[in-house]
Subunit: 366 residues, 2 copies
């Protein structure tokens, strides 16, 4: 029971929030992952139906014949999206995709979503319609049902909170923790394009602020902008792996960047990884935009860009033959036994330690 | 598929949000329930595991032997709570209780929650700790497991989004839609105290703003303030009804006020209700505060105050005997066949039509 007194003074109430008198620890010093670890640390499971709690792409609940998967994401205006270049229907679509992707990363299939919305009065009913148009389009695309939610006012900006519920046969669930030495590391699609799409959109916004009549000419960047505004969850891969008779040993979706996800996989599996720069898939047009226009090393975009929503997974070496000709699955390296040692072998053959930069929204002020 | 173009201009993107050129419809004109109806209207279910979608206290999913219940709530600072008088641990506790209450209103038992949090950098790590202290205390109290969530920065204020997952045997689920003419209307606990607790806290805040050193003397109002700051979900009633061999014909929890919930029950069941003022339970100290100090008619507080988180349910007349001596269940009226006709019989014997005021956060600016 929470036995704190109810009748304290306003001063006593405000004190723990701002915590000016004692030591005040900043969330930005802890970071998002540090904060999650802190929360997970004190959390015990009491119900037999709670199979796995905090720490993977989704929670795993006992659902009798199958496992029930539950994943949740909160998207905040000004932190996760900028409405100056994010059409609301794309935002709605993306919010669903992001959660469906988390369920896919458990080797499961999302079947339901609940959507909560907080919005200030600068939004019209038509704006809400546009948002739900995208949500519904994504639901149809992934064959997911919108079964509930909550709508409320907010003091400022738009907040979207989505929870997805999925299912997976009990013997098919894939955790972050199953990677073994000599497993092959695979990644789907291509990486880094979403990040460069975001750079293009931010540049366009700057141009607009200077000259609102300027036509941006985004055609050339359509693929990259599309990756940023409307990523597609790789439910097709989950289906195809099952068809091929492959169950990955570990899996995670790439939301914070390949490097960051390799660290997560490695930490949860107690292993290290070695990947090869020339194997990391990057789209050709995106590559050119990275290298020539934005002058960013393409491998840096691929490693740390994030928001790719591709799947990163490991397979047993015996499964190599089944997958080697797949057009959209790329084998980028292998797992080894040294925990927390993650290495990139560059095109020139140098082995450099990977660093997990990822995204930390708390660092940027917020 | 969402086939909107990706390469439109910033102007084209901003237009649907602010929608200044064409008709712009205000969400405040539609109201929260109007908005929910609008969203539900265009939503179809495609998966056989989606049993009931939008429109009850929780979504109902097929879980093999049982039903899986999913309920979600979003709480926004400045809209749902004021941190000047809401200690963070109480807020955490309340956020869980509110969702557990939704699951109870389906006659189910909550077993898991996921908690998402957006917070600005004015919050310290210690503030997050206090919030989770309350969340954990509630989880322990209700025997619910915290199994996941998301933490992120926000541009302003604190947003809490909770999704609860519960279970109920298939033959025990209770919807809002099962009330039949002649059923007895029951309500648990007492009503209106939470609302008056909020008035006390707001008055205290005003006093504080004038004189920060003033000691508020809330002892007298402890029950009311407790009802507002730390409501308890009536999971005990769900248990006791099962013990008594009673399955309510319809049930809903009282979050927006008794009158509003009677309208929901009536609408979903296609019936009307008649309740009696002298049967509506009001706490004695709260009654005095309402009538004497705040000069609000106590029945108005009970009907429209909201945030009571008591259960409102209907039972078949045959179950009357089983329940008539229960200390904490009050029979306040009966169901009749005239849809949308809801009547209050006053202490003086006058029959007056009920109006559902409820709470509409969108009306108050937001």
């Amino acid at each position: 029971m929470c036995d704190e007194p109810l009748t304290c003074t306003v001063n006593e109430r405000l004190q723990p929030i701002y915590n000016m008198t004692e030591k005040r620890s900043e969330i930005s010093d802890l970071g998002e992952f540090g904060l999650i670890d802190r929360i997970a640390q004190h959390t015990q499971l009491q119900n037999s139906t709670s199979v796995v709690g905090i720490g993977d792409d989704a929670a795993v609940l006992d659902g009798g014949e199958e496992y029930i998967l539950v994943s949740t994401d909160l998207l905040a205006e000004g932190v996760h999206f900028d409405l100056a270049f994010t059409p609301l229907h794309h935002l709605g679509h993306k919010a669903i995709s992001v959660n469906v992707s988390d369920i896919a990363a458990m080797n499961g299939k999302a079947e339901q979503v609940v959507v909560s919305l907080a919005l200030s009065n600068r939004f019209s009913v038509e704006a809400v319609d546009a948002l739900y148009e995208g949500i519904r389009a994504a639901c149809q695309q992934y064959k997911v049902d919108l079964v509930g939610g909550d709508t409320t006012a907010s003091r400022s900006g738009l907040i979207l909170s989505i929870t997805a519920v999925g299912r997976v046969p009990k013997d098919k669930v894939v955790y972050r923790s199953g990677a073994k030495p000599n497993d092959i590391i695979c990644v789907t699609g291509d990486l880094g394009a979403s990040y460069i799409g975001l750079q293009v959109l931010e540049r366009e916004k700057e141009v607009y602020l200077v000259n609102p009549d300027m036509q941006p000419g985004l055609e050339k960047y359509e693929y990259m902008v599309g990756r940023q505004l409307r990523p597609i969850a790789r439910t097709d891969i989950v289906f195809e792996l099952a068809e091929l008779g492959i169950k990955p040993t570990a899996m995670i979706d790439i939301s914070d960047g390949l490097a960051s996800e390799l660290f997560h996989l490695g930490k949860n599996s107690g292993v290290g990884t070695r990947i090869f720069e020339d194997k990391v898939p990057i789209d050709q047009a995106a590559y050119e935009a990275m290298a020539l226009e934005f002058k960013i090393d393409p491998i840096t975009c691929a490693l740390n860009g994030g928001e790719d929503y591709e799947l990163l997974f490991t397979i047993h070496p015996d499964d190599f033959e089944k997958i080697k000709n797949h057009q959209d699955i790329h084998m980028i390296g292998y797992v080894h036994e040294k925990p927390n040692e993650h290495t990139l072998v560059t095109k020139h053959g140098n082995a450099v330690p990977l660093r997990a930069q990822g995204w930390d929204h708390f660092k940027s002020g917020g």
